[in-house]
Every structure is written in C-alpha cells, then in structure tokens.
Amino acid sequence: MSFNAFLFQAINGLSTASGLFFVAAGLSLIFGVTRIVNIAHGSLYMIGTYIAYSFATKLGGAFGFWGGIVATALLVGLIGAAIEIVLLRRIYRAPELFQLLATFALVLVINDATLWIWGPEDLLGPRAPGLTGSIEVLGRRLPTYDIFLIFIGPFVLWMLHLALAKTRFGRLMRAATQDREMVGALGVNQAMLFTGVFALGALLAGLGGALQIAREPATLATDLIVIGDAFVVVVVGGMGSISGAYLAAVIIAEVKALCIGLGIVHFGALSVNFSKLTLVAEFLVMAAVLIARPYGLLGREQVAVRSVAEPEEPMRPATPTVKIAGLVLLVVLVCLPLIAKNSPYTLVLGVDVLIAVLFATSLHFIMGPGGMHSFGHAAYFGLGAYGAALLVKWFAAPMGLALAAAPVLALCGALLFGWFAVRLSGVYLAMLTLAFAQIVWAAVFQWEGLTGGSNGILGIWPAAPFDSRGPFYFLTLALAALGVLLLRKFLFAPFGYAMRAGRDSPLRAEAIGLDVKRVHWLAFAIAGAVCGVAGGLFAFAKGSISAETIGVGRSIDGLVMVLLGGIQTLSGPIVGASVFAVLQDTIMRSTEYWRALLGGIILLLVLAFPSGIVGGFLKLVSRRKAAS
C-alpha cells in the first residue's frame, strides 16, 4: 500500500473519530458525575439517527437537514432528562450492577419502541445540502461532508472544554466528578446537576447520531454496535475524561482505518486479512491499554463510591429442609420424561432450562462469592460450544470426546482472559470481560473458513444412545446437577471462603496470606470450565451453533438470570435461570416485542425486587419468623 493511500485512510479515520467522540464524550461525562455506566447511550444515538431522518425527509431541504440536526440534538437531550428523572434517579444508590442492568433494560425498550415507530427497514437519509460534493485529496476523492465531520469533533471538544472551565455548571460538573459527596455536602442541588449532565450527554449522543444520517442508514442494530465502540473509547481514554475520549476515538478510528487500508498482507507463507480484523482491533487496543494503564490513557483511579448494598448473610450449610427440597426437585426432574410423556416439547424446554441453570450458576460463582461482575460470560459458553462443534465438524469426533473438549477449551480461554481480568475491578473489569467476549465473538464471526461465520456449524447431533429426547435430557440433567453441586461444594471448601474473603476485603485477605488475584483467577477458570460444559451441551441440544448465539446478548441473559434469582443466595441462580428460560420461551413465542417485555421485567426487578426472587422470599420468611 502506498504512503498516499495510507494517509488518505488516516484522514478518513479522523471523520469517523468525530462520530465516536460525540457518543463517548456523553457517556464519559455522565459516568464522571453520576457514576452510572449508561448502556442505553448507544440507543440515544440510534434514536438521534431516526429522528434526524424524519426531520430531513418530512421537512426536507437545507432547513430540514441542518435545522433537523439541531432540533434532534435538543430533543434527544430532553429524552435523556426524562429518562434520568423517571428511572435513574431511583437507582443512584443501588449497586453498580443494578444500574448497568437498568440501563440495559432501557436498550431493549428503546429498541422495540423504535421498531414500533419507524419499522424494521433501514432508512437512508438525504445527502447534506451544501456539502454534497467532494474534493480531491492525495489523488482520491474525499466527500466534503467528511471534512466537515473532521472539524466538528475538535470544535465540540473545544466548546466542552470552555463550558467545563468557564461556566458555573461546568465547574460543578468537574467538582462532582472529583468528589460527589463533598459537592452534595456543600449544598449543591444534586438532582438538578445530575439531570443536567444526563441531558447534556444525551444531547451529544443525539447530535452524533443525527450527523451520521448523511453517511450511513439508520438501522436498529446501531445501538449495540455504537455502545460497544463508545465503551471501548471511554475505557481507553479514561472514564470521565473528555480529552481522553477524543484521543481514544482518534486512536481507535485510526487503527480501524489502518486495518482496512492494509487489506491482505502476506508474511511469507502466511497471509493475514487485516480488513477482517476491524471487529477485533478496537477490543485488542482496549485490552492492551487496560493491561498497561488500568484506568485508561488519561483517566484516574476512582474513589470508591460507598455502596449501600445490603450485607450478605453468612453461608450456612443446607438445612435438612433444604436438602429434602433439593432431593424432591431432583426426583421430579428425573421423572419428568414420564410426567410429560404426552408433550414432547416439555423435554426440549427442560434441556434449555438445565443448560441455562448451569450457565447462570457458573456465572454466579465468580459474580457472587467472587465479586467479579463479568459482562462477557458468553465467551466461555461460546468456547465450549465451538470447542465441541469444531471437533465434530473437522475431526468427526465422537460425542463423548467433543463434550470433554468443551470445558477444556473454555478453561484455556478463562485462564487466559481471567489472568488479565482479575487485575481490574468494578466497571473496568466488566468492560474488559465484555471486550474479551467480543473478541471471541468476532473471531467466530469473521473466521468463516473455520467456524462458518454467521451461518455457524450445522449437524452437531448427539450420538446414540443420546440421539433421542429422553436420553439426552438425562445426560443434560446429570451434567448440570453435577456441575451445580460441584460448584456448591467448592464454595463451602476453603477455596470458596478464600474467594469471599478476597471479595469482602482484599486488603485484609492479603494481610492474612491470601494471594487474592490468584484465588480469583482460579475461580474464574473454574467458572469458565463449567460454563464450557453448558456450551457443549447447547451445541448438541440445538444440533448447531452460530456466532449469533454467543453474542453479548447471552452474557446479559446470564446477568439477568443471576440477579432475577438473587445474587446473594446459592439457589438464586438456579431459580433465576429457570424462571428466565421459561419466561423467554413463552414471551418469545407470543409477541414480536419480546425485547421490550424483557426490558420491562428487568426494570421491575431492579426497582421493586433488588434482592431477587430467592432473596425476597428469604426476607419474607425471616420477617414471618421475627413476627411470630
């Protein structure tokens, strides 16, 4: 590739960087002040594209386009303020994890609302009036609109800087970013400040979205793609740092542009197609930055915000009642094929539920007792599923071997990713695990030769005697029960205690000789391996596996299952996964808008039942006891 072509790609990258910067800056501002990681920020960007499209096409002309962009930004800002007042205000004091989930629920609701209003088609906006031409740069044609974008990014950065440095609102924002409690103690109206910041962040996202309609069509997939990119940018730049966000946006956009520019490069006999690396490239950059600078390029270590989460009850071994209940449940499950003789679908659903239980229990293992909120548990599910499926596809391996390979591959992945992940905590750990899961997903998605890409691998059917519903159900039941009981055993063993000690107080745990990182690393690996079993079973249960089934959605499903049941109890993930799997099955079959319904359920959960089903039940029981 010539130097000129390279330079041209670099210039092109700068125009992409502006778009990234708008979303990331808003996300960063909101996080800095409210400490909420707004997953719905990509959704605000998305509705920005749709609203601007409507203005530009309904009003038409230069006024419809340019005036529409301004109006869109203001409108999205208002929507942001409404979201803050109605929802977020209620959860500022909730644990971090609940905030993430609540904003994720918003993603689902907004996505379905957009689908309802604008329909499922991609909508391509008009070209920008006055900037439809292009000029020649380095022998290639560069659209003038892209040049406009290159300049508007730094311009907004400069405006934000001025606003932060000179205005009272800006000073308050900076103060709140540094010490929220102190700002509150000084009598500043925090509610107003938070609403204002959220509206500003939303406005920036809406602006970013609106500016894109002349380049790309508005689509429903935008929300998750944009939020993924924005997270990477914010984490790389440092949470709460606006300049960091711009710097990171430029770096990410340039790395991507470079990958596209390089195309296929031959290293001797090996040829690497760099343009296929774009999906992974940004996550590789993020992983590298987080490992070298855990708080981002321009970020600072965060002051811990006091959590008001209810303290956890000590773990008690199962009482006779619980043991009997567990035994009864197991007997019922074993008898299920007999009970449900006339409805064969029950067993299919049964297998789904059991796999979900194993998946959720393994996630709970590191999330609850380990305190590591993984947002990328789908990675180990995927590694297990693909580990099994690839063996069957390429080596015609027998089912037993393929199922044994599933946890091994997942274990290897968890050992590798976990080593990095345990070095971080809180939001940064969540983001890094998400990044690793995206890397796994992107590798599967883009390595079509090996994995079949989005078509996936078909024909992974279980071998005799497990090739009919009943026996396969028993196999799943046996493995799921074994996995759940093993993890439970580990939690009551010294290792599980060490995990909790490291979570409760890393400082104290180190002071009594525990290597907290190592303990948590091994816990991560154990959870990954067990999750791999779930993945392997999934591949055989469905007969196929595709990139879509191991995406970010599955990671989030896992989080919802654990929280639905209650993170502080051992039976929580079992109950939560069962309820979730059954609900998902029934909702998905009954309505087109199942995402919004799921989002509604999550919101209800977060606002009304923060301790989950089992946690709520236990509280009820203990209140009864206290009363009598």
Partner: protein, 256 residues
Amino acid sequence: MNDLAIRSLSKSFGGVRAVNEVSFDIKRGEFLALIGPNGAGKSTCFNMINGQLASDSGEIWFEGTKLTGKKPREIWRLGIGRTFQVAATFNSMTVIENVQMALISHANQIYRLWRPAASLHRERALELLAQVGMRDAADRPSRELAYGDVKRVELAIALANDPRLLLMDEPTAGMAPKERNDLIALVKRLVIERGISVLFTEHSMDVVFAFADRIIVLARGRLIADGDAKTIRDNPQVREVYFGTGKTFSKSEASS
C-alpha cells in the same frame, strides 16, 4: 537480639517527606509504642513495615530477613501479624469463620476444594476466640458485632499465625476509655504469655505510659525521641511538638 530493625527508612508523597530517615529496633518481647501528633508519619511507617506501601529508601529487617520489597502476604508468612486502624472483618462470614480463614491460610490449605472449611481448625479457632473473650459470639455473623468486639476478633485473627511480631496501628481508635484500657491490657497479657514483640501506635497517652516498655516519638517524619515513659515525658522536644512553643503565630495575627 533484635526482632525488627528499621534502617534509614524514608517515604515522600509529592513534596512531603512523610517519613524521613527513620531508624529504630524492637527487641524480642518488647512492647514498643510509636507516638506522635497527627501527620507525623506513624501510619506511613507502619504501612511500609507491613508491606502495603513501598519505601523510597532504607531497609527493614526481621530476624535476619529483609522485608523491604516483600508483599503483605509474604511478610505475614514470615510470622508478623497485624491489625488495622479501622477494624473490619470479612463481613459475609461468622466470627469463627473469620478466624478459621486465617488458620486455613496459615496451614496452606487455601486451594483445597473438598472438605468444608467450617470443619477445619474449629477447636483452635474457638481457643483463640476464648482468649480474646469472644467465644460466645463464635457463630454470630461478624457484621453484627459492636466495634469494640470487632477489634477483639481482629486481634484473634492476628494471633492465628502464631506471630512473633504484632503490628497494631491505633488498636484502640474509636473505643471508649474503659474499652481501650481493657483491650491493651489483654494484648499485653497475651504477648507476655507468648513472648511476642509488639509495635503499636496510640493516641491515648494514658494507655501508652501505662503499658509501653519503650516509647519512640515521630514528628514531621523524623524520629525525635526514644526511651522509657519518664524520659519521653521530660523530653523538651516532645513537649514542644505536643504542646507547641507558642511562637507559631505572632500576637498581631492572633488579635486580628
């Protein structure tokens, strides 16, 4: 022989020399108090000894082993126990499980995956709790304890690895005067029984003068005095840092 030897220890935070060329020793079985006004560098000094902070320069030796550069958990394994300025326990565990955790770690059983932890070292844990007077609370959730009791449990945890040196950063902070005295009397009795050396910081002069074998005084990062209670009490420099000289502000400033 010296148990702990500190040589020219220094640490700066930005432009502030929090600890400046500090050297002292602790002899076997000695009950040594480290005192000084706020900001004197006591906690910084402590956190360098227990490995939580890296020193800028200087050396720390324990029984012929160099501590500087070691991690807190490695230092603990050498036989040095510690308590924290703000006491806390592992909140998701019962009182006895907190002690058992330390015993399990001491016996190198952390990575065991099978036998329930609650069955390990229970007798020994009960013994330790009995020594600090917390045996009756053994099976209560530790997060329910009153602050004074948390301090006692922390002491039991610190004794779990049979330490030969105990570091206690303000062991009685946040306690009522009567509780303070009781706790230090308890520590003193235990260390005499076991021949443990103790280095502790303390704000209550009553406690210090009543129990310490020897006292060292830090002020603005420097060691300014070293001796028994009477020497320290009569030392003019110590009086100056505690009571001031009255010359810090001129009269005109004071009246304006």
